[in-house]
Amino acid sequence: MCATCGCGTEEHSHSHSHTVTMEQDVLAKNDHLAAHNREWLAERGILAVNVMSSPGAGKTTLLERTVHELGTSLAVVEGDQETRLDADRIRAAGAPVVQLNTGAGCHLDAGMLRRALDELDPAPHSVVFVENVGNLVCPALFDLGEGARVVLMSVTEGAGKPLKYPHMFASTDLVLLNKLDLLPYVDFDVAEFTEDLGKVNHSAEVLGLSATRGDGIPEWLDWLRTHPSMAKTGVLR
């Protein structure tokens, strides 16, 4: 019997073609690795936060500020196509960091996070921020095994983003609306933005902030502290 497809012939030189059923999710391998990451993080009481945004929305600035405010119990995985620039900024802010360079890749996947976690070796009951590659499209599709997804969006980007990039906004737990200090100078309708967000994501919370000036930072830190996987530990003060 043919070992590949189970047909009656000895080997696969038969002249008739035949069908081998697969019924396999394309992202099954990534999802499997992500499930392992999730399990590994849960065993250690670690909250991994997948931070996604377009380039320049302020991810690294927000994380620098968060490191300054919370001090210890944080670690960061930095994803960029090239350079160690963001990792250098996080290290200077005082948190352990691992830089992932994806080269041509436009997103992080669960295997990359696995390798980064091995290198980072985060402490139990800590928070690991995963700064994904700046991109509002591709990262949405790849589960990393994170405990929470956060999309950072700045008011300089224009209000139509949730409808233009529905996959990204549909998959997030929290939207941080950054650069509120620039709101007086740009044409950005916050009410329209939250209404559009509601059309693609029924349950996401929205917090406004300015990572440079500090508006909304206490609310952001509270969101982290009260996240179900952090609330019990009392590690974040």
Binding site: H12, V20, Q24, V26, L27, C138, L163, H167, A170
Partner: protein, 109 residues
């Protein structure tokens, strides 16, 4: 361009299952709400397939349409995009189909 890594995953999964058996047709299901563009997968497939058992194989791609059901009024309706709005106005909507991203089967020659 996540289609490149998606297509690479497709090729890896088929090679893992079939070893060195030459493949003539690959049948995929790419839902209309999946966030993956079939044309981009076709483009990437030629690149990924080169020098493997998939080289020269035909790609058959089925594209299941989006369907959703409202959690508030229970109406089921078609969904052309991920704007999750029920005709009743509610955004509390469950996607029933259209998110598929699957290798259905392959034909070996």
């Amino acid at each position: 361009m996540h289609e490149l890594s998606v297509t690479q995953s497709i090729a890896d999964a088929i090679v893992a299952k079939l070893g060195d058996t030459k493949v003539s047709v690959v049948s995929l299901e790419i839902g209309r709400l999946s966030g993956v563009v079939p044309e981009s997968v076709r483009f990437c497939f030629d690149v990924v397939a080169e020098g493997t058992i998939l080289q020269g194989a035909r790609l058959d791609i089925a594209q299941p349409p989006g369907r959703a059901r409202c959690r508030d009024c229970s109406t089921a309706f078609d969904l052309d995009d991920l704007i999750l709005l029920c005709p009743c106005g509610s955004a509390n909507v469950e996607v029933l189909s259209g998110m598929e991203l699957k290798i259905k089967s392959v034909e070996v020659a």
